[in-house]
């Protein structure tokens, strides 16, 4: 097992984790500030990817297409907030779960009607090859770009939340909604704005992962659950928690899949190792969540004091 292999797998884990962060960040804010469970967050991710694939095709430019997909998705998200989700804030969690689950069904069918069940999205030709990171270690250029974009968005979000007035309101809302309300914060406009930002982050993730995966109906459904795991680990309402949780989940998942079967092979009979290795690797992330819950039921970085 060489250092280069471990380094390469860590980069893969980081890349996956950063994309998870983009999804989890929006979700955790909506959760923290509005106390709203939104299952349709994954649909915004799907929508972002379909917008991006279409716009890249239409404009002929990858960068332009992706940049246009972000405001388009944000707009769709804000529209959704104003039209449906706003009425759900005051309702119980069950209504929120059911209504947003219904939104998933609706979004899937609408996308199917508008675009069909999948779209092709190609990465820019200049980035489709490898970059020599270290001697003997080439790494796909496009995945480096994803890592770069993920880090840049994380930094931007940090500045936005920690240094600006809007960010202050967001933090105030997350730590104590009633208090923020009492102090005269225009919660309604803030909610719509936060929802738009969450949708925009979804679009970034969907657009960046589109060429790597497949742009298809239902693509947001599995990744949504992982975003939930991230939030539970990180603590509801905390951006910092989402970042740490996401990178942790990305790393544990990738490293587990890559090395656990071999690790088991070292001290278990091969038959058992080849059966148990992948099985345990596939649930490692959830075991991590269980452990975090046991030790810190409020997550690693609880936002509420």
């Amino acid at each position: 097992m060489s250092w280069i292999l471990i380094l390469e797998q860590s980069l893969n884990g980081l890349q996956f984790g950063l994309m998870l962060f983009l999804l989890a960040a929006g979700l955790t804010l909506v959760f923290g500030i509005m106390d709203m469970i939104n299952l349709a967050h994954g649909s915004l991710y799907m929508l972002g990817a379909f917008f991006a694939a279409t716009l890249v095709q239409a404009t002929g430019s990858f960068a332009l297409g992706v940049l246009l997909a972000i405001p388009a998705t944000a707009l769709a998200g804000m529209l959704l907030e104003v039209a449906v989700l706003r009425t759900l804030y005051a309702r119980d969690h069950l209504s929120q779960v059911l209504a947003t689950f219904a939104l998933i069904l609706i979004a899937n069918e609408v996308v199917r009607i508008v675009w069909g069940s999948d779209l092709q999205m190609t990465m820019p030709a200049a980035l489709s090859g490898p970059v020599q990171l270290l001697p003997g270690m080439p790494y796909p250029a496009y995945r480096l770009l994803i890592i770069g974009v993920g880090l840049a968005v994380a930094a931007l979000l940090y500045v936005l939340v920690a240094k600006t007035r809007i960010g202050m309101l967001v933090r105030a809302g997350a730590s104590n909604r009633e208090m923020a309300l009492a102090m005269g914060v225009n919660i309604q406009r803030l909610f719509t704005l936060v929802f738009g930002v969450g949708a925009a982050l979804c679009a970034v993730a969907g657009a960046m992962l589109g060429p790597l995966f497949a742009v298809q109906v239902g693509m947001g459904e599995s990744i949504l659950i992982l975003a939930f795991v991230v939030i539970v680990i990180g603590g509801i309402g905390s951006i910092r928690g989402a970042l740490v949780g996401a990178v942790l989940v990305g790393m544990v998942d990738t490293i587990g899949r890559a090395f656990l079967p071999h690790l088991f092979g070292l001290f278990l009979p091969p038959q058992f190792a080849s059966a148990a290795g992948p099985a345990i690797a596939s649930v490692l992330v959830y075991l991590l969540m269980a452990v975090v819950l046991f030790v810190r039921p409020q997550g690693l970085f609880p936002a509420r004091g």
Partner: protein, 323 residues
């Protein structure tokens, strides 16, 4: 005899007569279809126990149904075909899983609880997906249904239907008794006001956990029946969207109502079948592909129900009756 009892007897008579009529008409497909509907009615009713009666928003119920299906399926595949071993084993396994998941997730509240049940159920999905010995993502095909003995052949669609019907009736009767027993009243008190129930001195956590385990066990029974019905088990049974579908059934039929789960399952599955198989001509003229997008209708109906009629259809009916 009051109107309620008369309706009950009529419904039961219709349910008993249905397969005989279909058999006479050489339409066994519908007997199989009805069995599937009734099994989902059991699954939805079991979710209603925890969701409606217990007030716990468990979004991982598919894990218990799926676990029951796998345990019973694995036993049949391994040559243990007796239903008297396979079905109790399935129920027990689902109960144990519910105990583990419930013990961990009931320590949390609200949104955390929803997400954690969801995540643990998804964990079971991935676990079964990676279990090569039991078919992995390919699923497990069975050569026969479970064997019941007493000269009853479950391979016969009509016999199987009656067994499923009996199981559903037993579950609904047990639920009815439970709801009116001391246990049911305590659970209702916890649902209405957990803090007050705790202050009175009820061991809230333990009551909720027991409710969660009973529901999981009943879900396991549905799973075991499902495995025999389709002679096939696959991880997709455990996927989280399956939990969502079960929830839709419960809300459609009426949360916390005895018939809620069953009614919702019948409505949803019958509607799905009718939309796919019997397109309405004028609608077809406007939108030629609409039967393929049945879920759009389900989604819109759900959204409208949640936003405007949170008591479900059973709620609408009883509201009319009270008026």
């Amino acid at each position: 005899m009051n109107a309620r009892a008369a309706a009950l007897i009529a419904a039961l008579a219709a349910a008993v007569a249905f397969p005989l009529a279909m058999q006479a008409a050489d339409q066994l497909f519908f007997v199989g279809f009805a069995s599937r509907v009734l099994i989902w009615a059991i699954a939805a009713s079991s979710l209603n126990l925890v969701l409606g009666y217990g007030g716990m928003i468990s979004f991982g119920h598919a894990a218990f149904v799926g676990t029951g299906a796998y345990v019973s399926g694995i036993l049949i595949a391994g040559g243990v075909t007796s239903a008297w071993i396979g079905w109790p084993a399935a129920i027990l396994a689902s109960a144990v899983l519910a105990l583990a998941i419930g013990a961990a997730s009931l320590r949390t509240r609200g949104a955390y609880f929803i997400m954690i049940t969801l995540a643990f159920a998804q964990m079971m999905y991935y676990l079964m997906n990676s279990m090569k010995a039991y078919g992995g993502d390919e699923g497990l095909s069975l050569t026969s249904r479970a064997a019941l003995g007493f000269g009853l052949d479950l391979g016969n669609e009509v016999t199987f239907y009656y067994v499923v019907l009996a199981a559903l009736c037993a579950l609904l009767y047990a639920t009815h008794r439970l709801a009116h027993a001391r246990f049911g009243r305590v659970i209702a008190a916890i649902r209405e006001n957990e803090t007050r129930a705790e202050a009175i001195g009820f061991p809230v956590y333990r009551y909720k956990l027991i409710c969660f385990v009973i529901a999981g066990a009943a879900g396991g029974l549905a799973g075991a029946l499902l495995a025999s019905h389709g002679k096939y088990v696959s991880p997709s049974l455990l996927h989280w969207t399956q939990s969502g579908t079960l929830m839709i059934m419960v809300i459609l039929g009426g949360v916390g109502r005895l018939w809620g789960g069953a009614l919702g399952a019948v409505l949803l599955l019958a509607l799905e079948h009718l939309i796919a198989e019997h397109p309405i001509p004028w609608l077809l003229a406007i939108a030629p592909n609409y039967p393929q997008h049945a879920n759009l209708g389900v989604g819109i109906v759900m959204l409208v129900i949640v936003l405007y009629a949170p008591q479900g259809l059973a709620g609408l009916v009883s509201r009319k009756r009270h008026a």
